[in-house]
Amino acid sequence: MISALFQYQFLQNALAAGLLSSIVCGIIGVIVIEKKLVMLSGGIAHTSYGGVGLGYLLGFEPILGAFLFAVGGALAIGKISRRKTTHSDVVIGLFWSFGMALGILFVALTPGYPPDMTSYLFGNILSVTRGDLLLMACLTVLVLAAVAVFYDTWKAYLFDEEFAAVTGVNTERLNYLLLVLVAMTVVVLIRVVGIILVLALLTAPAAVAGLLTNSFGRRICYSIFFGAVFCLAGLWLSYTLNIASGACIVILSAVSYLIVYGLRGREQGRVS
């Protein structure tokens, strides 16, 4: 595969896509797990399917549609669940299916042969184009900047939102910003693992890192590292076995988490 890597543009793109997505899912994954927003992230991911469908229907780039729907869905879920009258999981569940349904509707309305949606649903890292890569790179830089620039504020907000508000942090704005960052992350990951499998790549690297270190900063670094390992190993598997990349990456992530979890459990069992 190494020689093929120098030869083929699509493999270079795939490699770059894998590395970009491990950076965003490393950072945002740790935050999502600490803030218990895993299901919300799933809701945002599935909402974006509506945007993919709309892109096909109106003839613009589907990933742009996914981006618009993901950000719109994130803000809407945030807005509705901010009012304490509704449980956020109800809103998340509704958006989850509503987005998918809209996608199906839009695709059905698209004239001519129905487009192949599997690469959006399950990801295909080997078909990432230059354009996709450009969008992914922009989003990664934005996410990285948003977290790095306000790192201390994020940490205070994640640990104790109420206290952060008392010290004058605008936690409501930060909340919305976080939702938008999650939406951006989801869009980056869609080309790699697909809408349906996003959750595994978002959570597994951060969860493995969480088992191994107790420092917030180190957790992010480990998480990026594991994300990169899962993506690249998954890419290699996908290339050699000719299986969908999303499935390979997700299976690797989940199995790795279970192995580390089991090993940690045995270690702690021995200590106590």
């Binding site: 600490e34 620039v149 306000f150 201390d152 940490k155 109420e162 004058g168 270190t213 420092s215 917030f216």
Partner: protein, 259 residues
């Protein structure tokens, strides 16, 4: 901003707080003077925490006004230190004790690329010394006992050198020894700052605080920390055994300390 003893630092007048159709606080008026140690007691749902949160600007008030040294709630900057109920905080969060206390210094600067300064670190370590857990500064918070965790939260509130300290049930989930240590600490802190303490703990109420406010929707009682049977009945709606220490009624009646 340096308030003289006896000067009003918190003025609460005719405050009403509603959550939707539910009225949590009704027409509460209360002044707190500089150097005072006020205990706020009352049954669950009586509005104790709501009162504290409205002073902090975390809950919008539906009527009346609150002023803290002439400033509106939420606009007080470094004047007010806050110690929340720690049941609401994730104790497995990956962060060290010092890092938590440093977040109390965040008010000084929230500019992009903010980094805590050497002065911030020194203030955080001094606050940790003050509450007696200076040696735990580099420890992960998941390794703290309940009492240590609570004292860390007090240190975080002290990191800004506030004039007023608000505490919400600081002894709710700590053992008896830590509880006594926390009250000793608050007594010590009261020499230099005003303290508002929300608590269920009658022992604290009796032996430490200067004044008592009893909330049950409205303000049932405000004054010397000696409750009679009628007030307590009005407060809790039914006769309550006031005490823990053996002799009924004793805790609230016979403390001989001079103040």
């Amino acid at each position: 901003m340096t308030a003289e003893p006896g000067q009003k630092v918190v003025e609460i007048s005719h405050v009403t707080v509603r959550y939707g159709a539910f009225t949590a606080l009704h027409d509460v008026s209360l002044d707190v003077t500089q150097g005072e140690y006020l205990g706020i007691i009352g049954p669950n749902g009586g509005g104790k925490t709501t009162l504290l949160r409205s002073i902090l600007g975390l809950v919008p008030i539906s009527g009346g006004s609150i002023s803290i040294c002439g400033k509106a709630p939420g606009k007080t900057g470094m004047l007010v230190g806050y110690v929340p109920q720690f049941a609401n905080i994730d104790r497995s969060f990956p962060v060290t004790v010092r890092e938590v206390v440093l977040t109390g210094r965040l008010t000084r600067s929230r500019l992009p690329f903010h980094r805590y300064s050497g002065a911030d670190r020194a203030a955080a370590d001094a606050a940790l010394q003050e509450v007696g857990i200076g040696e735990l500064a580099s420890r992960q918070i998941s390794g703290l006992s309940g009492g240590e965790f609570q004292r860390m939260l007090v240190a975080r509130a002290l990191a800004e050198n506030p004039k007023i300290l608000l505490l919400d049930e600081p002894t709710a989930s700590v053992d008896a020894k830590s509880r006594r240590q926390i009250y000793d600490l608050l007594g010590e802190l009261n020499r230099k700052m005003t303290i508002l303490l929300v608590t269920h703990d009658m022992m604290a109420v009796s032996s430490r605080v200067h004044r008592l406010a009893c909330l049950n929707g409205g303000l049932v009682y405000h004054g010397e920390p000696e409750l009679d049977r009628n007030t307590v009945d009005a407060l809790y709606g039914c006769p309550v055994d006031l005490i823990a220490h053996g002799v009924p009624h004793r805790v609230l009646k016979t403390h001989g300390e001079d103040r």
